[in-house]
Symmetry: C2
Subunit: 114 residues, 2 copies
């Protein structure tokens, strides 16, 4: 599979990227990449993304120093979602947590109104 | 965290959902949920999604029988991405592969043109 195989969204030009710790297998974050970000990641082996809020290319850790070395990049069966398997050098989350997925959603069996 | 905390995309009404095997820690697929799909998942403990291509609510395995029991639901720090930790009863991928992420993207060090 090559960069040309990736189906970036027609409207946004982006593809969602799941970031997983290659050693602990923990899912660290979900972000987005445009073609340029993915190309840089593939070439340099360091996780790059497109920041939708800041509307700019973004190397993870460029400010925090917590860069992510990308060991493998996988593409899903529809070619429209990407998985970076990384060795992080620090926490993924800006809150200092190891993973951005640190909030548990409660089951709603107790809540009939929702 | 409650269903009301989840930030569905303003335009699409959807949130991306990463599905991970709670035992093997393998990332199985990336799909999308609207509020109704997430609500059903939280209530019934079985993975539901919104199919963007078929434009309908979709219970994983409703045709294949490969349903996913949801053991935990996590929300990321921005409240706009969800992680289902599941016990699958069969392959996640329609190709029969255990995970949809079975295509490796080649590094492009050898390709200076891209």
């Amino acid at each position: 599979m090559k960069l040309d195989d990736v189906k970036f969204d027609e409207k946004t030009g982006l593809v969602p990227v799941i970031v997983q710790d290659v050693n602990t297998r923990e899912v660290l974050m979900l972000a987005y990449a445009n073609r340029e970000a993915l190309k840089l990641t593939m070439r340099e082996g360091i996780a790059h993304f497109w920041s939708r809020s800041r509307r700019k290319l973004w190397m993870k850790g460029e400010e925090s120093g917590n860069i992510q070395y990308v060991k493998e990049i996988l593409l899903d069966c529809d070619y429209d979602a990407v998985l970076y398997l990384v060795e992080p050098t620090g926490p993924a989350c800006h809150t200092g947590e190891r993973t951005c997925f640190h909030n548990r959603l409660k089951k709603t069996t107790e809540s009939s109104s929702d």
